[in-house]
């Protein structure tokens, strides 16, 4: 994974406009958050291979970044994105890692299921 290159990510977001895409969207504190520190709250959520289509999308901010994708009747939003995988431009793999390197948030789009 590399640090996000905003321009390159924007190009892929633009390439994917108005297409049926599979999405993986996730946020997690880790299953041990409150076990390790009882001031923390354990929460995780993900959706994998939901089928979505957006008409407008962009990556914003100075890093960590935010991505917003406007669908016909709703929005996809993700904040705290730091890294991406530039090895395959057929899919967009974005992730947000905290200061310890742990994954906190993940947003992925692809024409093929994950």
């Amino acid at each position: 994974m590399q640090l996000i290159d905003q321009e390159k990510v924007q190009r892929i977001i633009d390439q994917f406009i108005d297409q049926d895409l599979y999405i993986h969207l996730e946020m997690t504190t880790g299953a041990y958050a409150s076990h390790n520190d009882n001031t923390k709250f354990t929460a995780s959520t993900f959706i994998t291979n939901g089928l979505v289509k957006y008409s407008l999308g962009s990556i914003e901010g100075d890093g960590p970044f935010r991505v917003g994708l406007k669908m016909n009747q709703g929005w996809i939003y993700s904040q705290g994105l730091t890294h991406w995988d530039e090895s395959n431009v057929e899919q967009l793999i974005l992730a947000g890692h905290d200061q310890d390197g742990k994954l906190v948030v993940s947003l992925q789009l692809s024409r093929e299921p994950f």
Partner: protein, 216 residues
Amino acid sequence: MERHILVVFPHPDDECFGTSGSLAKYISEGTAVTYACLTLGERARNMGNPIMANRVSLPQIRKLELHESCQHIGITDIRMMGYLDKTIEFEDHEKLDKRINDLITELNPSLVITFHPKYSVHPDHDATGAAVIRTIAKMPKEQRPTVHCLAFTKGCEEILGKPDVITDVSAFLKQKLGSIQSHRSQWQLPADPQMVESEEMKERFGTERFWTYSFE
């Protein structure tokens, strides 16, 4: 001596801290071990340091790490059960239990090692232990293998009492640290070869503790 040991955990790396020393010890005594690993832990947050994985590449990496860990311990029979990390508690109980029952029928283990169904912190841990306990509870009493559970929820000793199986694995720290270090996307221990012999490592990793599950 045990006839055959079946280990049932949900994630690659569940074996490394709590049981790898005991398993290496059993194997050194000539007992065969089968490790059924329900998922690939592909929803883990640790991605190595520096970051070496993403949500797409992680399953393959964790599969390789699992193989390497088992090599250190001496386990040659690994069954990857193909479930998805974080979803065990939502799976069809009947189908899940049947797959565990099939393994028990095939292997006829005298000992099964798994997580305690209530005090193992991660929902996948508890759900895995619960499936094993449900399955074995249905067997005729005299055919049931012994079950050793790992448990680590805070305060669980007040409920369960002290663990009744306490194993000194300090002679197997090389295998154990090899197992831990195999899971390099999850854990980074200092790689100093001297450390295996150190008092600090013996103190930290030299003892493994289990609760024998009581079915009655």
